[in-house]
Structures are given as C-alpha cells and as structure tokens.
C-alpha cells in the first residue's frame, strides 16, 4: 500500500446565503441554546445542494457535502468542476483558510497553498522585500528564503526590477515573482488554484513545467484546480470531478475530464416548440455520434445537429434549410445550406433531418447556432437566431498554449515540409 498524503472523511461545508448579519444573532442564540442542552446544531439539518441557478427555499446551502477521498503521496490531482461546484471551497478547507462544518482531513506533510498569486504582496515594498514577506506568509523561514533567493529571482525573470517597489511592476511581472516564491516553497503538498490565468504563454509553460517537476521529479503531492482542461490533462495523473458539492468521479485524470465534458449539458443544447405549426422549425438537438444530447465536445469528436420542421408542399422546391455557426466574437465561422427537396418527408410534410459537422475542424471555443428555412435572397420562412449553443473543450490538444490569443475559427490540417 502506498502512503497517503491526504485523507478526507465526510467533509461538508455549509454556507449561509443572503446578507450575513440579518438574523445572525437570533440564529446564534438558537444554536447556543441547542448546544447548551446537548442537542445538535439545528441549522445543520437544513440546507440544500448548491445549485446556483435555481432559487432555493433555504438560506443555508451545502457548498460541499460528505466528501470522501484519499490522495496518495506524489500524485498530481486535478480538481475539476463547473463554477460553484465546490472546488475552491475544498481547497480553502485544505489550506486551513476556513474550517469544515463537519468531517475532518488527515494530512501527512506541510501544505502550501498558492490560491491566488500575489496575495500578501505589499505594493510599497521592493521585489526583494516582498520575496521575504511572501515567503514568510507562506511559512518559510528567513534562512530558507535566503538560500533560495537567487533561484527564485532567476525563475521569475525580474532580476532587473528586484529593488523597485512592486507597485511599479507590470501585472505579469507581479505574477511571475509571486509564482516563483510559492513554487520554491519546500512543502510536501502544494495546492494551486487558477494561477495560470495570467502571465504570458512562455511563463505559463514554465509554471506548468515547474509543477510537473514538483510532482513527478520531487515526488511531492500537487492539487491543481483549473478550468484549463488541457493543463489538467498534461499535469495530473489523478482527477476529482465535483458537481454541486458532491464528488461525481474520482480516479484517473483522463476519465475525470471525459466525465466533465460529457456532463453539465444544460438546456441550451436543444430547442423544442411543442405546438408544431406549418412552415416552422419545431425541434433542434445537438448530439454526439451515439445520439446522446451533449453540450460539450472534444476537439476530435463528431457533432450532429438534428432538426424537425414542417414545410408546405408549395415551398419544397424553392426553400433551403440553412444553418450558421457563430463564435463568441460574433463571427460567422461557416454556414451551410441544403435544398429541402433533397430530404425525405412524411405525409404531413414533416421533415426529420440531421447535419453532421466533421471532427477536428472547429477550434476549442463556444459556438452559437442560427438556423433558418429560407428562399435564398428572397425570404425567410422560419428563422431561429442563435437558438442553441455548444462548446468545444480543450483536451488533448495543443490549443491551450495559445489560449488568450485568437487562434481563428477553424483548424486546417495543412501539409508542411521542406521544398
């Protein structure tokens, strides 16, 4: 059996919604009264799972509920989940910023957390002073920092500015310095939350490399929270997927990512108009090759659009079915039209058609789809503007290296070679 670094038992965290303050005293007194009589905290029994989009009935929500997991020493664990799934709460509990409502963690080794780089930097102090201050906040002794000082400065690449107050730094330099300090911390367990959001791609790569060294080379345990799925994939060997405060999957990192991508399919992947009228598009669905409704796709997956519509006989020879795929910058990525006369129809002139989008063309991004029944350049018979959406996620591709820069809309497999 391998040694465990962290063991979580029945971890729950309850938060109170709304304005904390109103009614606090009465709740506190009630709690105290129950405690005095040796009863359980009455507010622990209530509370609902943390689904931020729905209006709940209770003021209390469970940000995490009865989480159990074990992390083996030397593992790099990616913690993934949608916004509000409880990832950051979990890390906050682990880094002892706040305590769990119930349950306990057992930890073997010193934990260092890198929750948001640059917290604890003082703008008035120089880079050198801030390295010492930040290192001390993270739990380093002065002589430890002195010993690693040159290494830290070297890694950050801001040597020239080291005796300048950090308020004169660019935000990138700020982050570089902060990451450098934390990365050189001698801790057995490193917790990293979304640090790679800033900094240029060169530095992001450097950070990823450093974190890889930390987990693989030095045998330290890394917990990594990120929405950058590609980074999770390259860095982590294990994954924990959270949803609404519960663990949905834990185990292999790649499987956790697949789980993540295929989950969270919300309403926008289908459109349904129950009263089927003449000459309208009544139903749209976005599915994968097995006809499962999906929102999120891998880059190398085929996407299918399913459409149901009705078209009266007089139009059939003239009308085309058209679709447009639009990216987040409102650019039309491509459009496609097909004569309706080329499809089969039933006796009521109802059509059920599908459109297959080839894989490995659309680059990771969010897309909206507009569809229409139209007579080219003459009239729209039925028109649904940006009615469904889907995402291409970054997994197993090299696109993450370019995140932030505009990669364009589509990926073309060009042939390269020497002349």
């Amino acid at each position: 059996m391998k040694n465990l670094a962290i063991k979580a038992e029945n971890i729950s965290k309850q938060y109170r919604l709304g304005e904390v303050g109103t009614g606090t005293l009465s709740h506190d007194l009630n709690r105290f009264w129950h405690k005095l009589r040796g009863n359980e905290d009455p507010y622990l029994k209530i509370g609902e799972s943390n689904d931020r989009s729905k209006k709940g009935t209770s003021d209390y929500v469970w940000s995490l509920r009865e989480i159990n997991f074990e992390i083996i020493q030397g593992d790099a664990v990616g913690i993934i989940g949608r916004n509000g799934a409880g990832k950051s709460t979990l890390l906050k509990l682990l880094s002892k910023v706040t305590k769990p409502t119930t349950g306990s963690f057992k930890v073997n080794g010193r934990i260092a957390s890198l929750l948001e780089v640059g917290t604890g930097f003082n703008p008035e102090m120089t880079g050198r002073e801030n390295i010492y201050l930040n290192g001390a906040i993270l739990g380093m002794r002065r002589h430890e920092i002195t010993r690693k000082f040159d290494e830290i400065v070297d890694f950050s690449g801001v040597e020239r500015y080291i005796d300048t107050p950090v308020k004169r730094y660019s935000s990138g330099m700020y982050v570089r310095l902060a990451f450098a300090v934390a990365a050189h911390l001698e801790s057995e367990i490193l917790i990293v939350d979304e640090v790679l959001a800033v900094g240029d791609s060169e530095f992001q790569k450097k950070c990823l490399g450093k974190m890889g060294d930390v987990s693989r080379g030095e045998g330290r345990t890394v917990l990594f929270v990120s929405h950058n799925l590609a980074a999770v994939q390259t860095l982590c060997n294990k994954g924990i997927m959270l949803e609404n405060g519960l663990i949905k999957y834990q185990g292999d990192a790649k499987r956790a990512l697949d789980f993540y991508i295929s989950s969270g399919n919300s309403s926008s992947n289908s459109y349904n108009d129950a009263n089927k009228k003449i000459n309208t598009i009544s139903k749209i669905q976005i599915v994968d090759s097995n006809y499962n409704l999906r929102n999120n796709f891998n880059f190398n997956e085929t996407i299918k659009f399913l459409f149901d519509f009705n078209l009266s006989s007089e139009y059939i020879d003239k009308v085309e079915f058209g679709l447009q795929v639009i990216d987040q910058k409102e650019r039309v990525v491509f459009s496609n039209n097909k004569k309706t006369s080329s499809f089969l129809r039933d006796l009521n002139n109802d059509f059920s058609i599908e459109c297959i989008v080839p894989k490995s063309v659309l680059v990771p991004n969010s897309y909206k789809v507009t569809v229409a029944l139209h007579i080219p350049n003459v009239a729209y018979i039925s028109h649904l503007d940006e009615v469904v959406t889907f995402n291409i996620e970054e997994t197993g591709t090299d696109f993450y290296q370019y995140s932030g820069s505009d990669y364009g809309c589509v990926f073309l497999e060009c042939k390269w070679g020497n002349r």
């Binding site: 040694n3 109170r16 904390v20 606090t24 910023v97 706040t98 769990p100 010492y132 001390a136 906040i137």
Partner: protein
C-alpha cells in the same frame, strides 16, 4: 504494511484551548517581516518621516496644558504640566493604537487571510510589536523632556521605579492585545461593535489617569479607576519618572492579574474565531 503516519488533522471542531504556541513560534520570521512592512510603508514617500510621530504628542500636550492645566486647573500633583501630560499621552497613544488596530485585524487583513494559512495570532502580535517602534520615538521625546526638568530645572526627581517601565509596557501591550482580540473576534460578525469601540476608547481615556492624577478624584468615583487595569500602570509610570503622585504596588499587581485573565480570554476567543472568520467577515 506499516501504519499510516499523519502529521496533522484538520477537524471541524477543536477544543477551546488547542492553541499551537509552537506553530506561532515557527512563524516568528513572519512577525519580523510584518513589523518591517509596517515601518517601510509608513516612511515611503514622506519627507519628514518619523518627525510626524513627534508632532502629534507635542500638539496634544500643548492643548492639554492649555485646556486642563490653565483653564480647568486640574491638579498635576505638583509636577510640571508638560511632563505630566506628555507622560499620559505617550502611554495612552501606544495603548489606544494597539487596541484600535488589533480590533480590526480580521477586517484589515481579510484578503491575505482568505488565501493563505498562517497562525492568525501573528497579525495582532505584529501590531503590538510595530506599535513599540512608534512608542520608542515618542518615549525618546518624553525622556528628553524629563531630562530637561530633572537636570536643568531640577523640578522633578525620577526614582528607581523607572526600571519597571518594560514590565509596564508588557502589561499594556497584553491588555490592548487581549481586548483587541476579543473585539476583533466579535466584529467579524457584528460590525456594530466597531462603532462602540471607537466611542469606548474615548470614554476609557477619561476613566484612565491620562489628564488628571488619581489623587484629585473624589473618593466616591475612585472605584471606576481602581477597576481599570490601566490606572496602576499609569500611576506607576508617573511615580517613577516624575517622582510624584500616589502609587500603590498592590494596584499594579491587581492590574497584572486582570490583564492576564483578559489576555487569556482574548487568545481563546481569537483562536476559536480565526478558523471560520472568513465565512462571516
């Protein structure tokens, strides 16, 4: 298979007295860095720098001499008014600054504390220690005034009790630390107390022999002063440096007792709140 080793357990409930002094000690370098930070940020981009620390006590002393000495004609037990008021102000400044700053320590440092763990006790401790820096400067001013009155004017006679000053400082620091921690723990949830505190500190000044001596207080109000642990400290300080006033060592011992109790209560409450204050601050 060997038994799994754990170095630490993070639990939802801790016992009231689980204060990890060893951990606080291991973060002593952080304490020094925070003091240094306080120092650096104060002087950066000021021209006069530490001179500012002189301006406030000098002006306050002059106003007190005018107001309480000349107009209200309060007794100073025969000591020169300037030395008398300056002694009160020097001590009071240290106490009130430590108390005010400590009581808002969670609020002021929420950004850092919400991201990184370190023993929270370090923060109030650093406030008390960096307050000493300012105190040292003002104390220097006070000493030069004392030397003037002792050597030039020969109107006051300091005695051996001046040697107890470090202990007085320690007591005062402990008192402001204890009170400040109690308030800081409560203000994270109940912000009303912030208003109460600013007001309370003002009132406390008048219940402390800052601008008057205990001898000039009518017998029926004396219990207020005796209940105030600062009284013993202030009276002892004056007795040592000015060689005047009524000082009773037993009152100092009582002060020490009350302060120790308050400090313990403060540390316990602070320790309880620090683990979950982020959820309410």
């Amino acid at each position: 298979m060997s038994e799994q080793q754990w170095t630490e357990e993070i639990k939802s409930h801790d016992s009231l007295f689980s204060i990890n002094i060893k951990e606080v000690w291991s973060y002593r370098d952080l304490l020094m860095m925070l003091v240094k930070k306080e120092y650096i940020t104060f002087y950066k981009q000021t021209i006069l720098g530490p001179i500012w620390f002189f301006v406030q006590p000098i002006l306050t002393t002059l106003i007190y001499v005018l107001l309480f000495g000349q107009i209200a004609k309060l007794s100073t037990d025969g000591s020169p008014q300037i030395a008398f008021y300056l002694s009160g102000i020097t001590l009071w400044n240290y106490f009130s600054e430590c108390l005010t700053k400590t009581s808002s320590v969670f609020k002021d440092n929420a950004a850092v504390m919400g991201k990184v763990y370190f023993p929270r006790l370090i923060m109030p401790l650093s406030i008390v220690v960096s307050g000493l820096m300012k105190f040292a400067i003002q104390f220097g001013l006070f000493i030069s005034v004392i030397l003037y009155f002792t050597l030039v004017k020969e109107s006051i006679n300091p005695n051996a009790w001046v040697l107890i000053t470090p202990l007085l400082l320690l007591l005062m620091a402990s008192f402001s630390l204890g009170m400040g921690m109690i308030f800081s723990a409560l203000t994270t949830k109940y912000k009303d107390l912030v208003f109460l505190l600013t007001f309370g500190i003002q009132l406390l000044m008048y219940a402390t022999p800052v601008v008057y001596s205990i001898a000039s207080i009518p017998e029926k109000y004396k219990w207020i002063l005796i209940a105030n642990p600062l009284t013993g400290i202030f009276e002892c300080f004056r007795y040592g440096f000015l060689g005047s006033g009524s000082f009773d060592p037993s009152s100092l011992i009582m002060s020490a007792g009350i302060i120790t109790i308050i400090l313990i209560i403060g540390v316990v409450i602070f320790n309880k709140v620090e683990k979950s204050f982020m959820d309410t601050v």
